[in-house]
Subunit: 159 residues, 2 copies
């Protein structure tokens, strides 16, 4: 199975995340944009994601909560920029635990021979913000998300 690659080069306010999925891009795009699919893979395995709003359109806003077994909820929200499509999804993201800190994420989903290479470039307001995101333990959530998405896509393709 493919692995998630996470790149955070020193001195540049960017994180690049890539992973290949054994599924056509249209299915990967559905998993990114349909709330009932999104909640099945987004985030660490031990948190439950619930969608508050998810307006998949230019200027549309989204918000979800990730809740742990003790009931602690972590909120995230953002705004889509441009109409999302399999050619790309551009959105801002704010963690509600750190108000005033915003990142801008660009996801591409090119397909090669039936597989889809998803890349997400996140740019932060500063290198310090980027480093804080890395230090927050985001890697576990990113790796869990990648594995869970691969599992979901396999289930969808088998059904």
């Amino acid at each position: 199975m493919s692995k998630t690659e996470i790149t955070a080069a020193p001195g540049i306010p960017t994180i690049v995340i890539t992973r290949e999925f054994d599924a056509p891009r249209e299915l990967v795009y559905r998993a990114y944009t349909e709330p009932d699919l999104l909640v099945q893979w987004l985030g660490p395995r031990d948190l439950t994601t619930t969608i508050d709003r998810y307006e998949v359109r230019d200027g549309g806003s989204w918000r979800y909560l990730q809740t742990d077994a003790d009931g602690n909820a972590y909120g995230f929200h953002g705004v889509f920029h441009g109409d999302p499509s399999p050619d790309g999804i551009v959105q801002t993201l704010e963690f509600e635990g750190a108000p005033g800190h915003v990142c801008l994420q660009t996801s591409r989903l090119p397909e090669r021979g039936g597989k889809t290479l998803v890349s997400t470039v996140s740019v932060f307001q500063s290198v310090e913000d980027r480093d804080a995101m890395v230090a927050s333990g985001m890697e576990r959530g990113v790796r869990d998300s990648g594995e869970r998405l691969a599992e979901l896509l396999a289930r969808l393709l088998a059904s």
Copy 2:
């Protein structure tokens, strides 16, 4: 009079613009957020700015047009992230001539001894996008805007 400094370091998808203004931050903040003031300084001297919408609040969207003497109009729009205040203004910006390309701008307005040092950090989706913005001739617009804002603040303080 102070001059505008523009920094675009190689290999980093960022432009930093700073300029000191001889005015208190509250007045500078008004010039950034009140449409009837904004149109008096924003952009190159030979273009006319008209505001389509300007919702100064968390999640609010804005759009303006800059029109030249021949009637050619250039549209820009974006979304405020967090409630704008003299402590900071965070917003996205898209030039409608290049759809799909977004930048994230963070403006700070710290005051020192009655003067205000405005800094705006713009982060782009890639270094290529940043370089394209620099190559587009944005410097003239930025320098004109800084001079026009200084002139407007002087007028407001004298009135």
